[in-house]
């Protein structure tokens, strides 16, 4: 797999999101440097998923700006955001259950392919599909899904589904990858494997990655930088070491110095 | 896999079987089309295409039953052209698609169509009937269907009935020049046809028509009647379903409107006399008809009513439906009788024009079918509601054709 674009920078500037009068995000600002893996953590209800939905255009932003490589994406519809090279996965798996794994992955090529309804009806665009299918098979192999390509998604194991979502996001050939709890519900070995995949994808494809995760082991092992949210506000933002030592983080959520891979901490945070 | 192969083999086998068995028959059938369909040495078969399961199933059954009463009489009297009449009946459920299928299926078996019920059905079939040179009796009084020699519209058409009705009201002094008349009518052939008549009559009589179009499914006509009330109408003409006509009468009475209500031929059903609308109907409602009523005090009506009761027990829902279907069957026999030596479809069409003075004394005024573009009669009769007579309605006078009705030009020029 080769990289085609440079990794972008993501700047979140003073973003607020309102839900029927409630401020779900309140002036959130942070910057994700090009090519880094950036984690967003915080207790349940802190606004992590809200943030990702705002980034990908699903939620309307009440104020503030979101910039990808200096270009504003605030207020764009999700499919427009995708065109700026931003792909994402969902916390609760969103796939077509009766479709095969391959077809689910091929949806990821939607924006990269052109053949519309009329052309497809007339049987045009098959060549295009063949070319893209080859690339999709490569990505599937990278994600370890080669063996289940022909199986309906509903029949896949949970771990495979999580990887399917991840691989599908890669199929969009993104520059900025957004992952919502990519390892939630996986066992330790599976989590480690997916964490390795995320790192490898970043390296091979030159991506910028933003992810939300409760598994502190994974966060600490792959994140270059961490933003901590609570009550819709940024508590702190910095390197894993910085966050681990931040007094507010410690006092507010941890009560004790954070250790990498500390089960208690993970439990407390999730 | 195995199954598919078996399936494939079966299909091939079926195809070859069809090839062997079927080939000859259809080609043969095509070759021997010289004899007129539906005619043998002993019988003449006529088609009846009715709604027996749809919204007008009741009407359809009534028509069928009445046709059978007439066929029985005709056959008992020796039949037509030394042959017995036989009916081939198919149900279309008021669905044009079913009607076309039923037509296709029965068409090779019958000489012509004694009776077809339902506007959408006639609409779907009329081009086919014309293409095959057939003669079809219709259960409708729409003057828009005149002008086609293949179709029989028996009696005064809706527009002419309405003209006669308004004329009658004026002559009785219920209406005078300058008055407004409400006209509640169904969308579709009955309503529009009747509206054409009421507008014509209004123009001549100096009346003003206040129209209210309704849908066949409308159940509550309060708003329509109230609108007429505020337009201060002096009479209401109704062309609707029987239930809607009853609703109009009841609402009008409830709203304190003491005006005569003149209903079109298809606005009455016997069972309405058991409903809460009965008093209002009895007091204000009269009905028009180009045909006699079973409740009439004539020998023919009493005879038919007795034959009906004999066969089916209770009074029919639609008295006019019985008379119409009975008369239509007698008429068709009359037409057949004029072409005994040429019992073909074209022969039948020719014989139709030869019927110029068909009448059933006491049931049907004289009918003239020589010009397909003209209504066979311009006479109508006003009927009143009476619980005590057979099927609930009785004539309030003789058949008459007003001068206006004679003057009126039906829209069948096109």
């Amino acid at each position: 797999m080769t990289t085609t674009h440079g990794a972008p920078e993501l700047r979140v500037e003073d973003v607020s999101v309102m839900f029927s009068g409630l401020r779900a995000l309140d002036g959130v600002s942070f910057t994700v440097r090009p090519g880094t893996i950036h984690a967003v953590i915080g207790p349940n209800g802190a606004g992590k998923t809200t943030l990702l939905n705002a980034l990908s255009g699903i939620y309307r932003v009440a104020s503030g700006r979101i910039m990808v490589d200096g270009q504003e994406v605030t207020g764009l519809r999700p499919d427009r955001v995708v065109r700026r090279g931003v792909a994402r996965t969902f916390q609760n798996i969103v796939v077509s259950p009766v479709e095969s794994t391959l077809d689910n992955l091929m949806v990821g090529r939607h924006r990269l392919t052109r053949s519309g309804i009329a052309a497809t009806a007339l049987g045009l665009g098959r060549g295009e599909q063949r070319v893209h299918e080859a690339r999709v098979r490569d990505i599937a192999e990278f994600a370890g899904l080669s063996g289940v390509l022909d199986r309906p998604a509903a029949s896949l194991a949970y771990g495979d589904l999580k990887r399917l979502e991840f691989a599908r996001a890669l199929c969009l050939e993104p520059r900025l990858l957004i992952l919502d709890e990519p390892v939630a519900g996986m066992n330790t070995a599976e989590s480690a494997e997916l964490a390795r995949l995320v790192s490898a994808a970043r390296d091979a494809l030159g991506l910028t990655v933003v992810f939300v995760e409760h598994d502190m082991g994974v966060v600490m092992s792959i994140a270059d930088r961490i933003t901590v949210l609570d009550f819709g506000k940024v508590v702190t933002d910095g390197t894993p070491e910085h966050v681990r030592q931040h007094p507010e983080v410690i006092s507010a959520y941890l009560g004790a110095p954070m250790e990498s891979g500390n089960d208690q901490v993970a439990e407390r945070l999730s | 896999m195995h199954k598919s192969r078996t399936l494939g083999l079966a299909a091939v086998a079926l195809a070859s079987a069809l090839a062997v068995a079927g080939c000859s028959t259809k080609a043969e059938r095509a070759g021997t089309s010289s004899a007129a369909p539906g005619v043998s040495d002993s019988t003449i078969k006529l088609g009846v295409l009715m709604d027996l399961s749809g919204p007008f199933a009741g009407t359809g059954k009534t028509i069928l039953d009445a046709s059978n009463v007439a066929v029985k009489e005709i056959n008992a009297a020796g039949g037509v052209c030394d042959r017995k009449l036989a009916l081939v009946t198919r149900d279309h459920g008021y669905d044009p698609q079913k009607a076309v299928a039923a037509y296709d299926e029965m068409d090779p078996q019958v000489l012509g169509y004694l009776n077809i019920l339902g506007t959408p059905v006639v609409t779907a079939l009329r081009d086919k009937i014309e293409a095959k040179d057939e003669l079809a009796g219709l259960t409708t009084f729409a003057s828009t269907l005149l002008g086609d020699k293949h179709l029989i519209v028996l009696g005064a058409t809706y527009d002419i009935q309405t003209i006669n009705g308004l004329d009658w009201l004026v002559r009785k002094g219920e209406l005078r020049s300058g008055d407004s008349v409400g006209h509640i009518y169904l969308q579709g052939e009955i309503g529009e046809n009747s509206l054409r008549g009421s507008k014509f009559a209004a123009g001549k009589l100096g009346l003003k028509i206040v129209g209210q179009q309704i849908d066949p499914t409308a159940t509550d006509l309060t708003s329509q009647v109230n609108a007429l009330k505020s337009a201060k109408v002096k009479a209401i003409q109704v062309d609707s379903t029987p239930k809607q006509a009853a609703s109009v009468a009841a609402v009008a009475q409830a709203a304190g409107m003491e005006v005569p209500i003149m209903g079109g031929v298809s606005t009455f059903a016997t069972s309405l006399l058991t409903t809460s609308a009965a008093p209002a109907l009895t007091e204000h409602y009269t009905r028009l008809s180009g045909l006699g009523a079973l409740g009439a005090d004539t020998a023919a009506a009493r005879k038919l009513a007795a034959a009906w009761t004999d066969q089916y027990g209770k009074a029919p829902e639609a008295s006019s439906g019985v008379v119409h279907a009975y008369a239509m069957t007698k008429l068709y026999a009359e037409i057949l009788g004029k072409t005994c030596e040429d019992l073909t479809r074209p022969g039948l069409l020719k014989a139709r024009s030869a019927v110029t003075d068909f009448t059933l004394p006491g049931l049907l005024p004289p009918q003239d079918f020589s010009d397909p573009a003209e209504p066979s009669s311009r006479e109508a009769q006003v009927l009143g509601v009476d619980k005590d007579v057979f099927a609930g309605v009785k004539p309030l006078g003789d058949f008459f054709a007003s001068d206006l009705a004679k003057e009126y030009k039906v829209p069948s020029a096109g």
Binding site: - | Q213, D220, S223, S230, K243, S271
Partner: protein, 296 residues
């Protein structure tokens, strides 16, 4: 002036009957996320029972029997058929109700035929005069009874265990299930209620000045469908507003049909749908329907 009052009152009475039917749609939709296309045959079935029995046992007893019968029918449809389908497949459930409607309508049309069955209500044929305003007694009774019925329903939802369970399960299905709410009972209760409301509305529709029960009595339910949509399929208050809007619009259009003739004749049936589409363009979930918060 007199005319205006009459239009308003008859529109109100018709609208309230539509509202009752619309409430039946809404309550089923709230509980099962399904539109009950069999509602028309529920209406017809209930009034048919009333009309069949009232000559023998009297009107009041017949109404009670009709209510019980339609409630039972609702329960039977829910218990015997709908509960066998995966409740998340809303479209499948809707189709199932179409199937139920086909069977029930076939049976009832076959039995009723073209007859008009008198309802035998004591207010049949009676009119009331208020000064120059003349109205059928049934209109007055509708205007008084229906709001009481609706208030009763609202009280039920607010204060009974079933009502609470119902409301909880609408807020959060899984949460309610976890909290011990028996979704089965909620859904069954909704179907019974829908059946009862259907008959109540049907009695109004078949009452004087309408001559009685005929096959077309059930079609009013199709007219109430836009009413339910206008208000928002999951809003009880919306159903009432929607019903009144449709009822008054219908009466008004009929009143001014002559001056609206440039739009073609017979506008009354279209007007409800035109209003509905306009409102949906403005608010895709109806006036008071819950906006779906987009969350994957």
């Amino acid at each position: 002036m007199t005319r205006g009052v009459e239009i308003l009152l008859s529109g109100l009475s018709l609208g309230l009957l539509y509202a009752l039917i619309a409430l039946g749609f809404v309550i089923v939709f709230k509980a099962t996320r399904t539109v009950n296309f069999a509602h028309a045959s529920f209406v017809l079935f209930g009034v048919w029972v009333v009309a069949q029995t009232s000559p023998h046992i009297g009107f009041a007893a017949a109404v009670a029997l009709g209510l019980v019968a339609a409630g039972t029918l609702g329960l039977a449809v829910e218990r015997l058929l709908l509960s066998r389908v995966d409740g998340r497949k809303h479209d499948a459930l809707a189709i199932l109700t179409i199937g139920v409607n086909v069977v029930l309508t076939a049976e009832l049309s076959w039995r009723i035929g073209e007859r008009v069955l008198p309802l035998g209500a004591p207010w049949d044929g009676h009119v009331v005069h208020f000064g120059s305003v003349v109205l059928p007694l049934s209109v007055i009774i509708t205007i008084i009874t229906v709001p009481l019925l609706i208030a009763g329903l609202a009280a039920c939802l607010r204060h009974t265990g079933w009502g609470l369970a119902m409301r909880a399960s609408i807020e959060d299905r899984e949460g309610a299930a976890l909290a011990g709410v028996r979704l089965k009972r909620v859904s069954a209760g909704a179907w019974v209620t829908a059946g009862v409301l259907a008959v109540a509305a049907g009695i109004g529709l078949a009452s004087f000045p309408s001559p009685g029960v005929a096959v077309s009595t059930g079609t009013a339910a199709i007219k109430a469908l836009p009413a339910a949509i206008i208000g928002g399929l999951d809003s009880l208050g919306g159903a009432i507003v929607g019903g009144l809007v449709i009822g008054i619009a219908e009466v008004t259009v009929a009143e001014y049909q002559a001056s609206l003739s440039f739009l073609g004749r017979g506008l009354g049936d279209v007007v409800a749908y035109v209003i509905m589409i306009c409102i949906l363009l403005w608010r895709p979930s109806g006036l008071f329907g819950a906006k779906e918060v987009s969350r994957a």
